[in-house]
């Protein structure tokens, strides 16, 4: 392995160098979308307070993994860095009760997760929750890297004299009875998650599987403590130490491992050996695509999020926020867009850092699997986005799309339905439009937007309405749809399976074919050739009948150099001065009921 490939700087036996090496490896991991998917990686935080430490999250574990450098040594032919690996269980974690009572107590304290973020600053965290020691050896030629994991199959402690409840001392009530188990933590099993992640990272950086993989085993001990605080170790048949050793490079690492002779080496045919090898890090030529199904339920296909929301709810803002956040993390978003009365205006309102496919004519909810498929194909060809957001028309019925989305299964991974709700108008829209109801009911995530324009009571009222009609969705309150995509991903994951479930329940209750035509909604584009007086236009908008709930377009006002983008939603409007670009045609698009009845501008 060429260490310079990922770490061209100088290496020595300093904590600075080894922190830096680990940091570089982990940053590489965060750039590697495939690695993240196949190892269920869910994010990382680097803490620089006092001693640098890292915390990581994986999808299948509710707790947080912690990693910190514990020692550095200069060996004659290389440098050795030792890292401690921790697992900090969350409050609803199945591993919580496997910890010691002491640990469980700490983990259930209020600021626990907050503290975990900088765990190296808290001795009660670094002394407990330990699961494994990871040694990283790099030889002085920088051509070989060796990683060794030392772990017990389980960490087991007993209380010899029992633990008494101080609140209840007269009754001699034991919390833990004498000679009972206090801690029985499956350290090896938990550590395997990190093991697979870290090795796969090394394999992907190396471009090839490790040159050697060996497992050693030694007996280990259970610990029991007495009332006076003394610890006693006892050899036990059900605990043992494992040393898992991987070598990238043709270097004989054995001499830096102490006492190897006293350890029993497992044969390559050993079942544990075979099991561990059947993982993504043991890949010959790094063609991870084909291992996809074997190693992970996650696919490497882009995920698809269906974004619904009534007109003017803030969908465009949501898309903008989403795109920008993903861009800042070097990920890319593709958009499939379709608006009733499509003018291509939204393309102008949106930022520029995304790939857009507009589906023609009609609207997503009426036609469509074929077009959607073509849209996805175009996006994949042009820019291979990590996420595809399908922006349905404001009046689309997401239930109509569910069956169509099934047909896209082999090209995308359907992630979730996000419905953006305009909190201010929610109650009114609920009474008026059946499609609005469907948008609420179909959602995996509901963004209750515009809460800055609502009173606390109004928020409560709307929340109640949403919850009582969709108990599965995660409701997130937003202003300007300002939301971190990770929050959506995290919540969507939990209820993903229920999307189809709700949809079947819903199918029994209402016919699926409702579209916007039945609600009498239509749109109309009006070209405007002359500059308009701004004040007159304002009073025009203020007097607009309720049937017209959305106007958007571009207008030139008298006495202004630049054109303005007009946004009108349910009686509220804003003018955004456009930047000096080439002149666009002036127009307004009206969306509403019974448009024919009204005399439009």
């Amino acid at each position: 392995m060429n260490i310079n490939d990922f770490y061209p700087a100088k290496i020595d036996a300093s904590s600075k160098a080894f922190n830096s090496i680990m940091r570089s490896l982990l940053i590489k991991a965060s750039y590697d979308g495939i690695l993240k998917k196949i190892t269920d990686y869910k994010g990382m935080y680097l803490c620089e307070k006092n001693q640098e430490c890292w915390t990581l999250k994986f999808e299948n574990f509710k707790g947080i993994f912690g990693l910190v450098l514990s020692n550095v040594q200069d060996k004659s032919d290389g440098y050795l860095g030792k890292f401690n690996l921790y697992y900090f269980p969350s409050n609803d974690d199945k591993y919580l009760s496997k910890c010691s009572l002491f640990e469980e107590y700490i983990a259930t304290q209020e600021n626990f997760i907050e503290k975990v973020r900088s765990f190296s600053s808290y001795p009660e965290l670094t002394k407990n929750f330990y699961i494994s020691c990871i040694k990283l050896f790099i030889d002085k030629t920088k051509n070989n890297l060796h990683v060794n994991y030392e772990v017990q199959n389980r960490e087991k402690t007993y209380t010899k004299d029992g633990v008494l409840d101080l609140h209840n001392i007269t009754n001699e009530k034991f919390i833990l009875k004498p000679s009972s188990i206090d801690k029985n933590f499956p350290a090896f099993r938990v550590m395997l998650q990190f093991f697979n992640f870290f090795n796969t990272l090394l394999t992907r950086i190396n471009g090839d599987k490790p040159d050697s993989f060996e497992i050693y085993k030694t007996k280990s001990e259970v610990v029991s403590y007495s009332q006076d605080g003394s610890f006693e170790k006892q050899e036990s048949s059900d605990v043992f130490n494992l040393f898992l050793s991987l070598g990238y490079g043709k270097f004989d690492f054995r001499h830096f491992e102490t006492n190897l002779k006293t350890k029993k080496r497992l044969k390559n045919t050993n079942i544990l050996h075979c099991f561990l090898e059947s993982s993504s890090w043991k890949t010959n030529k790094v063609d991870f695509e084909k291992y996809n199904k074997t190693f992970s339920n996650n696919s490497l296909k882009p995920k698809l999020i269906l974004v619904t929301g009534f007109l003017g709810s803030g969908k465009t803002k949501f898309l903008q926020n989403y795109i920008e956040y993903e861009n800042s993390k070097n990920r890319f978003v593709g958009i499939i867009q379709n608006e009733i009365g499509k003018i291509g205006l939204d393309g102008q309102l949106l930022n520029y850092d995304y790939s857009l496919v507009e589906i023609d004519e009609g609207c997503v909810c009426c036609s469509l699997a074929g077009q959607l498929k073509a849209g996805v194909a175009t996006l994949m060809k042009n820019s291979q986005p990590d996420t595809i957001l399908v922006e349905t028309t404001g009046v689309a019925n997401p239930f109509n799309l569910l069956s169509e989305l099934n047909e896209l299964n082999n090209v995308v991974e359907f992630d979730s339905i996000v419905s953006v709700i305009d909190g201010v108008n929610a109650i009114e829209l609920w009474d008026k439009y059946a499609i609005f109801k469907d948008q609420v009911r179909a959602a995996d995530v509901i963004l209750l937007n515009k809460i800055d324009l609502m009173s606390n009571e109004e928020i409560k009222k709307v929340e109640h309405l949403l919850v009582s009609n969709n108990q599965c969705a995660n409701i997130i309150k937003t202003i300007n749809c300002d939301i971190n995509p990770t929050s959506i991903a995290n919540s969507a994951r939990l209820i993903k399976s229920s999307t189809s479930h709700i949809s079947t329940m819903f199918t029994e209750e209402t016919p699926l074919e409702r579209t916007h035509i039945q609600d009498g909604i239509s749109s109309k584009k009006i070209d405007i050739f002359e500059p308009i007086d701004k004040d007159i236009f304002k009073s025009y908008l203020e007097a607009i009948p309720k049937d017209i709930f959305r106007i958007k377009g571009i207008i030139k006002f008298k006495n202004f150099d630049n054109q303005f983008v007009i946004q009108f939603v349910n009686g509220k409007y804003e003018f955004i001065e456009m930047e000096k670009t080439k002149g666009k045609d002036n127009f307004l698009v009206y969306i509403g009921c019974n448009l024919d009845k009204y005399d439009l501008l």
Binding site: F6, Y7, A9, K10, S20, R23, S24, I27, Y31, G33, G43, M44, L46, Q51, I64, S70, N71, K82, S100, L101, F102, Y105, Q109, E110, R117, T126, K127, Y130, E155, T157, T159, D161, V163, D165, L166, H167, I175, L176, S180, R204, V223, Y225, Q227, G229, F231, Q320, N321, E324, S328, N330, F332, N351, Y352, D353, N382, S383, Q384, D482, N484, S487
Partner: protein, 387 residues
């Protein structure tokens, strides 16, 4: 045995949510066994390295539009295998060799244009255009940093050299950089990192002054080092090591040993200590993340008023996705440092810049000229002065 304990544990934990100090556990007979033998916690103390002061610093944005269409750029990177791909293999200009996306190499690419560097750049770029993937998308990042010393004299430094020869020639001429280089008014070039949009326009600077002193961060790859030679550089090349690199009183750079997408390593950011104001930082992209950046300054440097005064450049929050989304917010993390003047552009998101403004941050507005896209940014040709 475990089962009978379960209820006792649960009751206990429920009953003692608050109140018990860890110390009292001993009196109950509860102890925690730690298998750990070694663990060191070096105390990190603020070092307060003093690198002097200057009177003011002026930054002119020569170009912040690194590329013009992000979809095209990301498509190229994705199509070449993702973020870990080697930038020299993508087949972007000027190192295109006509073999198409992801099949390029520095050697084959440079062979077509080497004989034209650094003086016949128009011809070189024309050849590159024919051989490369999406040459029209290339722009570049470059800034002029002008230090006013305590005695009133001024000194100009060039930060980065952009990407497209064509675009950078144009941008240099617009801001008069060509003349400053030729006359020796600018005699030092600081390269923030090896990325295509900051470094590949290198011959454009060489054309006007091949004898420039060039300061690059430790971690350049072979191709990059070779490109400096192949561009006809005859001046001094300084490879700044990880950590602080002092240039003159009040001006220093800091080298972060951070891996960056498309196989680049290391970023060099500029720190300026403005007398009576505080620390000003000028970054290329800040790939190390604003959090690390500000923490480093705090831990390592001595600066006036102990105040982070201003910042200019691209702002990345962190190279990681935080597992807790509530912390992954640039607006919040920047707020902690109380900058008095913020000039952002380049890889800072537009909405983020707008959020800064809404949150009341002292964002200096731009003029959105020369293909820069928003007034929330300091765009091409805009100037910001600190001090």
């Amino acid at each position: 045995m475990t089962n009978t304990n379960e209820k006792g544990r649960r009751d206990f934990l429920k009953g003692t949510v608050t109140g018990i100090g860890l110390g009292t556990f001993a009196s109950m007979g509860l102890f925690s066994y730690s298998p750990l033998r070694e663990f060191f916690l070096p105390q990190v103390e603020r070092k307060f390295t003093d690198f002097g002061t200057c009177k003011s610093v002026k930054v002119t944005n020569i170009s912040e539009t690194s590329w013009f269409d992000n979809a095209t750029l990301m498509g190229n990177i994705k199509g070449s295998g993702g973020l870990l791909v080697n930038q020299y293999e993508i087949n972007w200009p000027p190192f295109g060799d006509g073999t198409g996306l992801a099949k390029g190499s520095y050697e084959k690419g440079i062979a077509n244009i080497k004989h034209l560097l650094p003086n016949r750049l128009e011809e070189a770029w024309d050849i590159a255009k024919k051989n490369s993937v999406n040459p029209e998308n290339a722009g570049g990042f470059a800034a002029l940093v002008e230090i006013e010393r305590l005695n009133g004299t001024k000194k100009k430094y060039l930060l980065d050299v952009g990407w497209s020869y064509e675009w950078m020639e144009k941008s240099f001429k617009r801001e008069g950089i060509d003349k400053m280089l030729a006359s020796g008014e600018i005699d030092t070039l600081i390269i923030s990192h090896e990325h295509w949009d900051h470094f590949w326009g290198f011959p454009v600077a060489m054309k006007y002054n091949p004898n420039l002193k060039v300061i690059i961060p430790e971690g350049f790859y072979e191709e990059g080092l070779q490109y400096i030679k192949d561009s006809g550089h005859t001046g001094e090349l300084v490879i700044a090591k990880k950590g602080l690199f002092e240039i003159e009183p009040g001006l220093s750079t800091y080298i972060f040993d951070v891996p960056i997408i498309c196989r680049v390593f290391g970023e060099q950011s500029i720190f300026v200590n403005v007398k009576d104001k505080g620390l000003v930082s000028v970054t290329g992209c800040c790939h190390q993340g604003i959090i690390k950046f500000a923490n480093t300054a705090y831990n390592e440097l001595k600066y006036d008023n102990d105040q982070m005064y201003g910042i200019y450049g691209g702002l990345h929050i962190s190279p990681f996705d935080d597992w807790d989304p509530k912390y992954d917010d640039l607006v919040i993390s920047l707020g902690k440092w109380d900058f008095k003047k913020v000039g952002c552009n380049h890889c800072t998101g537009l909405l983020t810049a707008e959020k800064f403004i809404r949150a009341g941050y002292p964002v200096i507005r731009g003029t959105a000229q020369h293909r820069s896209k928003s007034t929330s940014y300091l765009g091409n040709g805009d100037i910001i002065t600190f001090g």
